[in-house]
Amino acid sequence: MLLSWWKILGILILLYVVIGGLSVPLNPGITDLNPGQLYAGQQKEVTITAYNTHFKTAQPTRIWLKSAEGKFLEAQNVQILTENKLTCHWDIAKNMEGQQYTVIGYNNIDGSFLVPDGIVILKNDSAEEANTAEAQFTDVNTADFVKPSGLRFPYRSILNETIRNTFFHVALWMAMFVLYLLGLYHAIQYLRTGKNEHDWWSVAYNKSGILYGILGLITGSLWARFTWGGWWTNDVKLNMAALSMFLYFGYLLLRNSFNDAEARARISASFSIFAFVALIPLVFIIPRLTDSLHPGNGGNPALGGEDLDHTLRLFFYPSILALILLGCWMAQLKFRMQKLAIKAGIYT
């Protein structure tokens, strides 16, 4: 019981991750701007659909267009429709043509929320021009904005609530990698010492890793369906991850094709070293060299900043730890079973 404390720890951390990771609310954000294109010299009503906001219960919500220079143009005539929907008017001046503006909203309950480059001002080709005056840009001190209290995950458009998948999808791959690393260590130790225990450990860790890899592919596919739009996109990281899974499937098939225990152990140890060495360029190098939708690949910024801010880290790192502990537990069960079978003289 005392020696198994880490198993209990694994379950407790996983519980913490599942409960906390699902119950911490998301920051408010803007899901839709209609229309997203305005014409210079026009007055236009824009409908803003938001998420997790409290337009009705909050003090009046104010909306601005923020220029690249950091100047603010406040919207007129803000009409609250529901907690998450409002309409507002902007007088778009001639000199705003051809620029992109960030849309920022603020109220006392939700704090500030924004869409970077949410509105584009296009050239007005029609003859009827109403507004020739300069736009009334002002300075707004965003430091005065009240920040809502409590823990909140960042709001990212498209991702929405699925940003929580960081704990359940990304962490799986990290844990898988650690388990394969442990499998690799024992494979090398087997080749060095020839002790059967190392072979059993190696295959047990690799099997836990393969389980996480399969789950990682399935959860990733599900995530892709709701963000990128397809169960399987031609993203290089996906295909390379699938390929590395096939390598490890090959490892299992290879193991099962031997009758002689020693030959099986030796060849499969060598193969698992090869599979791990192939895994690194497949998953970590090639996707970085080409285009990929994954963060940190194909010129995308790596996990960090808003994608993995401190609130996400609070659950992301524990999740990796919990999955590693559970993976080690499953590997240990496999190992003990193998040991028992050998002890009883049963060949498996």
Binding site: L26, T219, S221, W232, M245, L253
Partner: protein
């Protein structure tokens, strides 16, 4: 042992190969999973992870039962 994991690998491989072809077949019967900021797709992900670990443990359990039986049989024959 060989027969079981072979089947498992075969089906996983077929499922993996099928992925690109199922992509366009689905249209949009997934509105439920997309509601409330796609939270239910996250729940589905959590369920998959827990189910996956559960199924793996179930298989270990089954193999252990078989092993126990074998050991018991051997004791009786000796």
């Amino acid at each position: 042992m060989p027969d079981h994991s072979f089947k498992c690998i075969m089906w996983s491989s077929i499922a993996l190969l099928m992925f690109p072809y199922t992509a366009s077949a689905e249209v949009s019967d997934l509105d439920f999973l997309r509601s409330t900021g796609k939270i239910y797709s996250v729940i589905a992900g959590v369920v998959i992870v827990l189910l996956g670990i559960g199924v793996y443990l179930w298989r270990i359990d089954n193999k252990l039962t078989k092993l126990e039986k074998q050991i018991k049989d051997e004791h009786e024959t000796n």
